[in-house]
């Protein structure tokens, strides 16, 4: 069962929880308000690298949030609609995503080198300890 050679990274807990799942990675910021459809979980922002992709059920990895503070409520809408990401990993978490993760109870860790994670990687997130493991 134990796989060897994984990468273990230690960051900072924003909101607690333990999940395992598949990474969806972008090196662009994400604005939840106006850029992610709260009913489908699909990224709608024109020209965004994730445009047309669904973030729901994925471990969403991106550098930092951006845009309107209403974005925190959009994250909450995603969660209530069952379309939220499993967890969020940031390089630097900012107010909108932090508050959104807390009110929506989405595990969230920041201060992680998001560039070392690729879309499709299996991740083990222990947000309680601020730990993200990439299984290789």
């Amino acid at each position: 069962m134990h796989k060897t050679g994984g990468v273990r990274m230690k960051g900072r807990k924003i909101f607690s929880g333990r999940v395992e799942g598949e990474a969806l990675v972008t090196n662009e910021g994400i604005s939840f308000y106006g850029s992610v459809d709260p009913d489908t979980g699909i990224v709608t922002e024109k020209g965004h690298p994730l445009e047309g992709k669904s973030i729901s059920g994925k471990i969403l990895v991106f550098p930092s949030g951006k845009g309107s503070t209403v974005g925190s409520y959009t994250m909450y809408r995603l969660k209530k609609n069952g379309k939220a990401p499993l967890a969020i990993i940031n390089k630097e978490c900012e107010t909108i995503v932090a508050v959104g993760a807390i009110i929506s109870e989405i595990p969230c860790v920041d201060q992680i080198d998001t560039d070392s994670i690729k879309t499709g990687d299996r991740l083990k997130v222990n947000a309680d300890e601020g730990v993200v493991e990439v299984e290789k």
């Binding site: 909101f15 409520y73 909450y76 107010t95 932090a98 807390i102 009110i103």
Partner: protein, 380 residues
């Protein structure tokens, strides 16, 4: 409070405040004198936002004086503004959730006109960028630019993390904006905010070359400067109360800069809808508007945004009757930015530079940027 002994709403609030404090390196949470909650219009909240408010209202009660930002409609007179009944039902549920938290449900972006007026040096936790900027710059109170959930968290705990604009070292000017242009009415103060905000890009200006400014002028500048990219605090030499170091960098704002900004905020001549009162009108502004409308009859849809308590005084003074007799509508509790107006009109005329920005961005309106007097002329 983090353990939940004070109930779920307080626990959730403390989680929000502690996380923000950690992210921004705050050393502690500090008490606040008052809160202004943003995120009140159902148009922005949606059903999920409404549900979140319902959960916080289950056991959350405010600990400090708390007022509300504008809602998506006039809470009493919404039918006259053509609001959809289903929207009205949802908007009422939003306000009822705040009532359960014991918030003063007077919905306005100018809480400082209706008794939520902090003193110099008070720490507060306010949302609504124009009010944040007015409180920091004109009143000398101290607040960050909070979002909806963090203002609720501060209201239910009476606390905010100490970082950013709560600390004097972060309130110092970064550059001088020396004004060599005629700036003498709220519309032109809005244009100045557009020019200086774009130069500032998040930094703090010390504005020089302004001899006098009324409350209404400063309200317009506060709304505009932060909308167009400035920090939510500015200094004006000889006018605003905060002390600041004098920066070395100096930028000159010319008459041409102002004229170009005004030109850029105009992109049509076809007026469909006129809105005055962004931010909400003072009593003085209602008096002037009533004088301009006295004996006239409006031919276009004209809304005047105002806080309900100010309208009540205007009722007693007779201004409201003159305004309403002309066919103009006094819109309490709301404004053209947060009301569900997309698609109802195609263009807006206003004297508010902030109103132009959101008229375009949120409602896809073509815009006409004129003085109050010229806007009234367009309406009658």
């Amino acid at each position: 409070m983090l353990e939940g002994k004070h109930g779920n709403a307080v626990k959730k609030s403390m989680e929000i405040l502690a996380a923000l404090g950690n992210i921004f390196g705050a050393e502690k949470l500090i008490p606040v004198k008052s809160v202004q909650i943003s995120g009140v219009s159902y148009d922005n909240l949606g059903d999920a936002g409404l549900e979140f408010l319902g959960i916080m209202a289950e056991d959350g009660k405010i600990k400090v004086k708390t007022t509300l930002n504008p809602a998506g409609m006039d809470m009493e007179n919404w039918k006259a503004l053509g609001i959809d009944p289903e929207f009205a039902r949802k908007q009422k549920l939003v306000i009822e959730a705040f009532e359960r938290m014991e918030v003063e449900t007077t919905c306005t972006c100018t809480p400082y006109f209706i008794g939520n007026k902090p003193e110099f040096g008070d720490h507060i936790a306010w949302g609504e960028s124009s009010a944040v900027t007015y409180a920091n710059s004109v009143l000398g109170a101290k607040t960050n630019r909070e979002g909806g959930p963090s203002t609720i968290a501060s209201a239910l705990t009476g606390l905010t993390p100490e970082y950013g604009f709560h600390l004097d070292k972060n309130r110092q000017a970064h550059f001088i904006a020396d004004v060599k242009a005629r700036i003498d009415n709220p519309m032109l103060f809005g244009a100045l905010g557009n020019v200086v905000g774009k130069i500032a890009k998040g930094r703090i200006p010390l504005i020089t070359g302004i001899e006098k400014a009324t409350t209404e002028d400063l309200k317009a500048l506060s709304a505009s400067i932060v909308t167009y990219g400035g920090a939510p605090i500015f200094h004006i030499e000889g006018i605003t109360p905060n002390k600041t170091e004098t920066p070395e960098e100096k930028v000159t704002v010319t008459q041409e800069d102002i004229e170009n900004a005004v030109k850029e905020m105009n992109d049509t001549d076809d007026v469909e809808f006129i809105f005055l009162g962004c931010p909400h009108c003072s009593l003085e502004e209602l008096k002037k508007i009533s004088e301009l409308l006295d004996g006239k009859s409006v031919k276009k849809e004209l809304w005047i945004g105002v806080a309900r308590p100010i309208k009540k005084i205007a009722d007693e003074k007779g201004y409201s009757k003159v305004i309403e007799d002309s066919g103009a509508k006094l819109a309490c509790d709301t404004c053209h930015v947060v009301a569900p107006l997309k698609g109802r009109f195609h263009s807006i005329a206003t004297d508010s530079a902030k109103g132009i920005f959101y008229g375009r961005g949120k409602n896809n309106f073509k815009t006409i940027f004129r003085t109050r007097e010229e806007c009234i002329k367009l309406a009658v």
